[in-house]
Point group: C2
Chain length 351, copies 2
Amino acid sequence: MNALEWTGSKVRFIDQTRLPGEEIFVETDDYRVLCEAIRTLRIRGAPAIGVAAAFGAVLAVRGKQFGTAEEMKRVLDAAAAELASTRPTAVNLFRALARMQAAARPETIQDPEILLVRLQDEAMAILNEDVDACRRIGEFGAGLLSSGVTVLTHCNAGGLATAGSGTALSVITTAARQGKINRVYVDETRPLLQGARLTAWELMKEGIRVVLITDNVAGTVLRQGKVQAVIVGADRIASNGDTANKIGSYPLAVLASRHHVPFYVAAPTSTIDPATSDGEHIPIEERNGIEVTTFGGTRVAPEGVEVYAPAFDVTPSTLITAIITERGVIEAPYAPTLESLACTPAGGAST
Amino acid sequence: MNALEWTGSKVRFIDQTRLPGEEIFVETDDYRVLCEAIRTLRIRGAPAIGVAAAFGAVLAVRGKQFGTAEEMKRVLDAAAAELASTRPTAVNLFRALARMQAAARPETIQDPEILLVRLQDEAMAILNEDVDACRRIGEFGAGLLSSGVTVLTHCNAGGLATAGSGTALSVITTAARQGKINRVYVDETRPLLQGARLTAWELMKEGIRVVLITDNVAGTVLRQGKVQAVIVGADRIASNGDTANKIGSYPLAVLASRHHVPFYVAAPTSTIDPATSDGEHIPIEERNGIEVTTFGGTRVAPEGVEVYAPAFDVTPSTLITAIITERGVIEAPYAPTLESLACTPAGGAST
């Protein structure tokens, strides 16, 4: 099952808000449907958002008549701005759009039809690179795990979050195929329960033993010595290694450190943002409080209560044992290696 | 509003599982209804469980004819065993039952009617002591807070968890009346959301500014320097100061320590268990996984997923800045003071 793919004329994706109850696929040739899908987390996960945005840029200009390449580029740029405004934290979104905009160069390609082919090729390259990165992250990461380990993961950094086999979950499924994984503790990941809904579902499909816990239980299993590695994904990695990931990752890193359990971040190099010097400068999205105060239409908190709902937190690089990328495993000091790996500068908030 | 009271012939309590949506009061003269209410968390909170169990013991023998005091005592002992089996962690339950059983001494009181009066007096004493303890905990605790503080609390250690004004929340409401509280961050407290459902509701009724957060956000607000004190309740305090409290308290204590924010435990001395040497020996209840995998009838995790759902965790005394009791504020070294305060030995699991 591919969570996100290109049919040749449309983007086909699974609606992640309906899982695990229903497996609903959506096909669209309208980039605005993709904007809405990213905003409402029907499509989520930093790498998947990047791939979706790339094809969103294609869809914005596909099937339309343009007199000139410049005209097409103007429409592309406007759509890119719209796509960039959907979510602020995952840098893959801005990097993918920057690549699409760089690929569309009317000064070298003057025929709109050829320019469209160029854009489709670039989006497909972003998708294929992601698939390949997931596979390689899995291999590099599995190499870090010894036989019989129990690992803990947070949120969903799986096939659903990428165009491929995932980041943190690619490490786990690759290690599982090597017979190394005893079991996986899965944080449910409030408020949107991506762990309970998505990660548990993905790992169970792979036949891996899952133990679901509330986020509050992670401290207990770490303290009990039940976990030998924590592996999470990333939404943006600053050039010093500070990493924004799903809210709750930072407390997990603090607890892992306290209990001398390695804390690994698994992410493609497209998640590295050399333009952001450290975690303090990563923009953190705040979600609507209704995601906390209601559940499945049931209100769980008093009417009118104030809510603070950041979607991400920042784990300082000092708490990260290693960053697993498709180009190898990086350890501290992070800055020199991250800067050399992040060859393409990201658009960031200025896109 | 009293969450739990004695009408003279019945126990009247608010069904906490229905809050904040509905304020349903239940009146019962059947101790088995109280057993069920404790088991299903309609009545919850360590001190409230103790008071409910004491009146449960009264109801077990009230309105029945006994030939001898010994006969009444046998019925009382059987009911006490049933009441003791409802939940394993909160020591107040075992202490209250031990007090009731010690008060019923057929060798000194031979008339069953007089023995019943003695039992009612003892239960009422347990209730009144709890009310008084809550008030005094509030006063001692408020003395620790400076003006303009923002505090963070977890789960519900409020009026709903006691027969009085609460433990941690008594500190907060007392300090608020002194004009000291800026705002209160309330952890929603998965899986049963006692923070979102109960604490937010109690504090908003008091006109205190509440900011509701998922448990995952506590690390962020502590790191941002927004919180000057963390205050929680307790279900059992071992004689070395290690404290069992709602799952998620331990991670919170680790984070508070990392960010140099004091972590206070507020609890009556009835929560101290001198028979338990340290946290390792506190029995931790495991709840049914269905409390994690479903919400309001909606399934949020795949069918058949394994769940690990301990209801409590243990915070080592080294992470506790002070324990606020009705007899004063205790700081490390805890053992000598806790041992002298816990004058009545608890029944513990052997009851």
